[in-house]
Amino acid sequence: MALLTVALMCGEVLVETHLPKILAQIIDYVTAITDTGGSTADGLSYIYKMGALMVILALVGVTVHLVANYASQKASFGLAHNLRIAAFDKIQVLGLKNIDRLTTTSLVVRLTNDISSVQNLFRQILGLGLRAPFMFINSIIIASTLNKKLSLVFLYAIIPMIFTIVYRMNTSLPVFKRVQKALDGLNDFVRENLLGIRVVKNYTKEQAQTEAFDEISGSYADITADANVKLAIIQPLMQLIMGFTTVGVIWYGGYLYMHEEVTIGIITALITYITQILMSFRMMSNVIVNYSRTKVSIDRINEIIDTDSAVKEKKNPVTELADSSVEFKNVTFGYTDGGDDVLSDVSFTAKEGEVTAFLGGTGSGKSTLLHLIPRMYDVTEGEVKVGGENVKDLSLSVLRKEVAVVPQFSTLFSETVRANLLWGNENADEEQIKKALHTACADEFVENLSDGIDTFLARGGKNLSGGQKQRLCIARALIKEPKILLLDDSLSAVDTKTDALIRERLAKNYPDTTTVIIAQRIKSVKNADKIYVIDGGKIVAEGTHKTLSQSNEIYKEIMDSQKEAADE
């Protein structure tokens, strides 16, 4: 498709560049007839013939141009499409470690804005990037066949033209970087002000903010004006070069005409070629400037595509779990290579069918520990075993089918409740869905939604309360009927009564499931078979509520801070 575009564009250029030549021929023919007194009838038939040729060429030109345009759109959309799919597919297998590094926001920008920029550049290259040089060369060739001496004037025009373009390329990029920076600063200021308007009003800072903004806005206006003024010289300069070249052609052409070396028709044609040549020059510089701006986008997309998957499946992996236990053996882990360890030397076993709980403050590493079980990240040292097998030896799809996570932040997607639930198991029947919803204490409120289970969820589940979202996430995990269930502080927005009820139903309806709970509140872990207290990435105590509340200082301290609540 891209090649077709280029071929068509070149065809169109051939047409375009031949028009002035035909014009020259007509003019000269007419001159010859009037000068020598030839037959008017001959002249007319020649004019009809050539005129018709011009019209036909124009028709051909526009048709070819349109087809070429279509081809270039198709090619550039095709490229964008392929890039988009490739990048998106790659993101799916990058692994969370890479996603953390590249950040979600940046990935989204790469997938949207950057791809659009590349698409535009590609279209521009197809449309102009090759057309312009071809036009340039063609015009020069035709001009020199018309008259070699006169076309030499063009050479003199090219030199200042190159200078102008170099000036433009050197000026515009830094200048607009400065404008962009000023604009970002301005937008940041407004954004903070708008989001913090209550604070601004509370501290009656309106006046001060207004004054500060006035300054920012003023300096932005100055910077933008300076940038534009710097570039405003370019257009007049180019026109001046064109003007001088025209003068040169007229002057030297007139001189040559007087020495019978050139005809009026050729002079007229060459004046037309000036425009074509200089325009094509300008377009080439457009493409180059745009390329250097888009280069960043290209690199950013390539960075995604070239990044190696952080979590790789082993060849011929194990596809069967012997049991539903989880075991950590001297696990050490940090999110970044060479960065601080978030977990160090953690060992524990969660036995089949038991509830194992981890208690600790923010930043203690308890959520991280959970991420390692379904192999969202790979450990730095040690082993994570699920069902007796090292997770690195397990098939990823089997591992993630058997391990269900209820994440700390209830992520739901903008589709129906049912579609969200089926994430757990696409082939789940009504019975399984009902059971899961009931266990998660979500059946009642789902029924009361406007369309029941087929209610469409708003972006980010905004039409649900925090507790409702958490319960749906639990139901989604349960539909998997997983061997291992991981609850990452997943009941924080659910009231005490429901919290207890959910845990009770879990034990009743999914008795063989191994459960790992993470929590900040004593209440949520009290009934666990085994409790681990984690602090600073290390397990500092283990036992049951009973033993820990008697023997462990940290556990007691946490308990004290939540005392009244826990005792009531």
């Binding site: 014009l23 007839i33 008017t40 002249g43 007319l44 004019i47 005129g51 011009m54 526009v62 349109l66 759109q73 198709k74 959309f77 988009r84 998106f88 799916q92 996603i99 926001t105 920008v109 997938l111 804005n113 535009n120 521009q124 102009l128 607009f176 970002d184 903070e192 989001l195 308007i197 209550r198 601004v200 009656t204 001060a208 207004t210 006035d214 806005s217 206006a221 004006a225 534009n228 026109q239 001088f244 003068v247 002057w251 007139g254 001189y255 005409y257 007087m258 009026i264 002079i267 377009m283 923010t362 969202m376 993630r400 996570v405 994440p407 997607f413 994430w423 009231d495 009244e564 009531e568």
Partner: protein, 610 residues
């Protein structure tokens, strides 16, 4: 697109626009086509001109210079006629040299005029836009908080970005260009008529054709472009949502499925995109094609005229040069009209914000030097929207130094009381007095300064930690700042920051933990030491230790002050002088801890649940 990404992605790419190649122009044009049409074109344009008051002379001069430049351009082309007829053909070399020098001079003058005109227009448009922008911001500072709750944040932002950029562009380019194009078209046609009326007629036939062609394209562009943009939005938001939820996608092993869905959306986008972009890209080649075809006819007819009626060669050369480019300004005019519409629609939205009523009233004359802090709320009713009452008949008397705990389920109206005390919103009925004065009579700024608020998500600003703490009292010395931080228990972690108190908080303190941000807010309140406080105890995502720190800092802060406390913790509630249990917008129970527990009502139930 979520709010956070707004700044980076939606900000207009100025450079793209200003350096734009053909593709971008077409895109911009198609995008502008979709912009809403202005409602009051005439009135809005008049109002935009008021911002040019100081630059009237400049603007006129710039436009005149531009017209002179255009006239000189037309003249230089016309000169081809005498050059060919009177100098080249008669072989008058001396004359040719002379006229070439004249021609070169004209080009220089024309270029200089163009440059000066551009330069003036750039300054004028930036000055005018700057004053509009400043006025807009100043106005926003006086608008009631309800305005910011009602209007989407992104919408307000785009007043500053897209809308004002469109106005700036119109003032710089569009207006002048419009004059220039009209002048150019009229001038070109006039000179063409002057050279040969017969030939002109043939050329002018192209105008209706151009009109029909562009009209047709514009109509279809709109339709397809709208669909294309919707598809693009779908693909982008799908990608954003999945990538943001990548953790879940991975955990549920849905990668393949998600890729498949994405590919489907992307495929629709590809198909519709090609159509939309193709149709919008037709304009330029189609116009050129029409022009070239008529050019062919013109050449043909010119030849005939030369043979039969002796039309001079010089005249033909000049005429053909005019004929070659006379469609450009016509095409340009339609571009500029669309750009003007976009600018006027943008300006209209800016003016709408400027015309919103400010919250400050002349009747607010009381400016007490000090507040004791006796607050009385009397029979207050309040609703955000007429359909739904938030507060019903609330009455409570608070004596100086008392601490009041507000307790109740979420959404019961606790934060609304804050909005009313601070006069962020107006009451439906009833009144609130402080030290016996109705707060409606108190100067709003004085009132607000005497309240300290520490809410859950209070904002920090991109400035140093010290400046954030002295936000309400810029003249505070470093010693005072440190003292306040120490009282708030924030001193220790601040010292551990890279540059201590001088550390610049980026992205609104995004690098700090929730608890640390909260401690800075408390430090801020300590520094201004207000007689009345409104505190929200809620601390999500805060570890136990920091939570205790926040609690004790709040306790110190409240000492001796009248305080409303949106309380979540039993220990804090218990220490309060009065507990108000709010449910469904009403005070359902009031009293101290023992009384309420004895009552065995809602409080007793909540109390067990906490």
């Amino acid at each position: 697109m979520s709010n956070n990404d707004y700044r980076k992605t939606d900000a207009p790419d100025m450079s793209q626009r200003m350096m734009g190649g053909g593709g971008n122009m077409a895109r911009q044009r198609a995008a502008n086509l979709l912009a809403e049409k202005p409602k009051d074109m005439k009135g809005t344009i008049k109002r935009i001109f008021t911002y040019l008051k100081g630059s009237k002379v400049g603007m006129t001069t710039a436009i005149i210079l531009l017209l002179v430049h255009t006239g000189l351009d037309l003249l230089t082309t016309y000169l081809l006629k005498p050059i060919v007829n009177d100098y080249i053909i008669p072989k008058n070399y001396q004359g040719l040299v002379k006229i070439c020098v004249t021609l070169a001079l004209l080009y220089v003058i024309s270029g200089v005029f163009q440059y000066i005109s551009n330069k003036m227009l750039i300054r004028i448009s930036q000055t005018a836009t700057h004053s509009m922008r400043s006025e807009l911001f100043t106005k926003l500072q006086t608008l009631p908080v309800s305005y910011f709750d009602r209007n989407h944040f992104g919408d307000i932002m785009s007043r500053f970005t897209n809308d004002l950029e469109n106005v700036a562009l119109a003032l710089k380019d569009t207006l002048a260009k419009l004059f220039q194009c009209v002048f150019n078209t009229v001038g070109t046609i006039g000179l063409m008529l002057w050279i040969s009326p017969r030939l002109t007629v043939v050329s002018l036939f192209s105008i209706p054709v151009i009109y029909v062609v562009t009209g047709f394209i514009t109509k279809h562009t709109k339709k397809y472009y709208r669909r294309y943009q919707a598809d693009l939005a779908t693909v982008n938001s799908y990608a954003e949502e999945r990538i943001s939820g990548q953790y879940v996608v991975t955990a549920f092993d849905r990668g393949e499925k998600v890729c498949g869905e994405f590919a489907d959306y992307a495929e629709t986008l590809r198909k519709n995109g090609i159509k939309a972009q193709f149709i919008s890209s037709i304009t330029m080649p189609a116009l050129k094609g029409v022009n070239n075809i008529f050019y062919g006819f013109t050449v043909m007819y010119a030849g005939i005229l030369a043979l039969t009626r002796g039309l001079d060669l010089g005249g033909i050369s000049a005429f053909l040069k005019y004929a070659k480019k006379f469609a450009n300004p016509i095409n340009e005019i339609s571009h500029q009209i669309i750009a003007i519409q976009a600018a006027v629609a943008g300006a209209e939205r800016v003016f709408m914000a400027l015309d919103t009523e400010s919250e400050y009233r002349d009747s607010e004359v009381l400016k007490p030097d000090t507040f004791r802090g006796d607050i009385s709320i009397q029979n207050v009713d309040f609703s955000y929207t007429p359909e739904r009452k938030i507060l019903k008949n609330i009455s409570v008397d608070v004596k100086q130094g008392q601490h009041i705990a507000l307790v109740g389920p979420t959404g019961a109206g606790k934060t609304t009381i804050v909005n009313l005390l601070m006069r962020f919103y107006e009451l439906d009925s009833g009144r609130i007095t402080i030290d016996g004065n109705d707060i409606a009579d108190i100067d709003r700024k004085t009132l607000r300064r005497n309240f300290g608020i520490v809410l859950q998500d209070t904002s920090l600003f991109t400035m140093s930690v010290a400046d954030n703490i002295r936000f309400g009292k810029p003249e505070a010395t470093m010693e005072e700042v440190v003292a306040a931080a120490k009282l708030a228990g924030a001193d220790r972690f601040i010292r551990q920051l890279e540059n201590g108190y001088e550390t610049i908080l980026s992205e609104g303190g995004g690098t700090l933990s929730g608890g640390q941000r909260q401690l800075l807010n408390i430090a801020r309140a300590f520094l201004i030491d207000p007689p009345m406080l409104i505190l929200d105890e809620a601390t999500s995502n805060v570890d136990t230790r920091t939570e205790l720190q926040i609690q004790s800092a709040m306790k110190t802060l409240m000492k001796g002050k009248t305080a409303f406390l949106i309380a979540h913790r039993l220990s804090t509630i218990r220490d309060c002088d009065m507990i108000l249990v709010i449910d469904g917008g009403e005070i359902v129970e009031r009293g101290n801890q023992e009384e309420l527990v004895a009552m065995d009502g809602l409080y007793a139930k909540l109390y067990k649940g906490i």
